[in-house]
């Protein structure tokens, strides 16, 4: 049974069909990339999976059970977490607080225990801090020392991205949806992120779905690539195959380029 199954997903906004009959699956331990031109509906798929939007039709199943209609925080409880395309950190709070908040949903004490600081609450609080430091440690010691207590707004862009990823990991999710994790990063930082994502799967055991634009990143980490265009899935498969698919080339570069590719393939 696949960890995530998306079946015939459809969503329209007014007259615009953002997602049209999209279906795919993700097995545990995979890294799947979703690519496509701008406006293809990639972030919408994430929003539909995480419950931000309710699909007009179709189903989303996580570990066998349907999660359509569940609210976003319920989806997180079940084990899916996401990052955002344009970084939605809690800017006035510190790095540590950001990574602690994503663990709040697993807190077993009620608010009264928190107010009166019962021993069990204290224990959980300590455990949460350890988890936070551990997740931040994925990125080396740079966020673990004095930066822990700095408000996010003083951080560099790359550090903010790292904080956001650590925050998503700290939710305790099994499936991570990363929305353009390397946006705004230079080549050195991008290759660093590539290693991080691979380490997240290898060492952290996460299953990862990535929406990306940078093809080198996609090529290096993906087990499978899914291509969307105008809300529809137009190709799926290994990176090498997808990149040479005429339909995909047409979507990115236009009809002529696509036809050229078809000719090239026909010629052998």
């Amino acid at each position: 049974m696949a960890m995530l199954e998306v079946e015939r997903l459809r969503k329209s906004f007014g007259g615009l069909t953002a997602t049209n009959d999209v279906g795919f699956h993700v097995d545990q331990g995979e890294i799947v990339s979703i690519i496509g031109p701008n406006g293809a509906g990639k972030s919408t798929v994430f929003n539909l999976i995480t419950g931000v939007y309710r699909p007009d039709a179709g189903d989303v199943r996580f570990e066998g059970t349907s999660i359509v209609g569940k609210s976003t925080n319920q989806v997180v409880d079940l084990g899916i977490a996401r990052t955002f395309q344009n970084l939605r950190l809690f800017t006035n709070l510190t790095v540590l607080e950001n990574v602690l908040i994503s663990q709040h949903h697993r807190l077993r004490s009620n608010w009264l225990s928190a107010v009166f600081r019962t021993p069990s609450y204290r224990r959980q609080e300590r455990a949460m801090r350890e988890v936070a430091t551990e997740k931040l440690g994925f990125f080396g010691p740079r966020l673990q020392s004095f930066r822990l207590h700095q408000p996010v707004y003083v951080l560099s862009y790359a550090n903010r991205r790292r904080t956001e990823m650590a925050r998503a990991m700290a939710t305790g999710a099994k499936l991570l949806l990363l929305d353009e994790p390397s946006a705004g990063m230079n080549p050195k930082e991008t290759s660093e992120i590539t290693q991080i994502i691979r380490r997240m799967r290898d060492e952290g055991g996460y299953t990862i779905v990535v929406v990306e634009h940078k093809m080198n990143l996609v090529g290096e980490i993906s087990d499978r690539v899914i291509v969307l265009d105008y809300g529809q899935k137009i190709a799926e498969g290994a990176y090498r195959d997808v990149v040479n698919d005429p339909k995909v080339i047409e979507a990115y570069l236009g009809k002529k380029a696509g036809d050229d590719k078809r000719e090239e393939l026909a010629d052998g």
Partner: protein, 402 residues
Amino acid sequence: MTLLRSTRNPTWRRFLPLLVILGLVALVVWRMLYLGSVGERFNAGFFLRAFIDSVKLGSLYALIALGYTMVYGIIRLINFAHGEVFMVGAFTTYFLFTITPYALPAAIVMAIILTFGLMRVVELFRGSMRDPIVLGVGAIGVVVLTVALSAFTWPFWAAIVGSMLATGVLGLSIDRVAYVPLRSAPRNSLLITAIAVSFFLQNVGLLAFTNRQTPFRPDTPLTTPLAFEVGGAPVLTNWLLVAIPVVTLVLVIALTSFVTRTRLGKAMRASAQDAEVAQMMGVSVNKVIATTFLLGSMLAAAGGAMWGLNFGSLNQPAIMGILPGIKAFAAAVIGGIGSLPGAVIGAMIIGFSENFLTALFPRTPTFLGITEFKDTFAFVLLILVLLIRPSGIVGEDLSEKV
């Protein structure tokens, strides 16, 4: 601000409001007939009187609601202080027709304020304060108005116009002093500031005017009594029944033409849709916002003056503006905040629900009537609309893109 109804709903949904309205009308008529059969008093005249009062009240609320809806349309701020602007407009009118002529220092100060307002109004059409006509108006205006204020008793019509100008200046000042510095501030700060301005004006009004009720009886033909018969039942009212809706209509038409036909009006509509892009297209959004405050305050002042005429007196300044302000805001929301015709529609609804409903459930020997709940009704309606259909009757939906 929007002027056109959204046309994106499927056909059957478009008829739903119409059906609801027809249903309500049927219920009302049935109730009226029932009451008529129960008591002599509840005859056609009684209901016509209630109808007239509702139309008048609705028109007055409309004048205030337009100010709320315009400001919200552009800067998404609920201008809490607008109710107080309405109050100041009423009192300024009072002080212009009662204690004129003024002593010279006061006349000069008032003349300066009025002339500044006049210059701003002319500027709307001429484009800049440095325009020769604007400056000419300014120079002549100061002199003429000083003389007029210190030598003559002002007639009511002049008092209204003067009050509109002075209150317009007040609106501009509020914007300049309190809201402009907070253009980029978080929403909550702006709202709190608006509340503070509202409180400030209430207490300044208390200080400057009085803490009692003020009788408002200018010498004007508008209050001449008017009597006629309907179906055998006598109706006693005055010419305000005609005057208030007519004046409101004129002002609303003037505002709508300004917003549709002039360049500044187009700039206002553009800013309401997307202030950032409008600014990139060369629109001075600050100027647009200032104009909005100017026009909204002028309308509110007219509303205040006629409110006084209608009720014959003005409530204490600290409380006069609160309820009408909230009700007018409710009207703007119900009609669709950001939409001009919506504000008028919503105001009529509030006016009717306040007056006509109380008539439909009057005090009888067996029933205490619902007058006690008159004011609560507007709040309840507002909360219901905000929960069920926040975009109002005409309005559009504004949600956040993730």
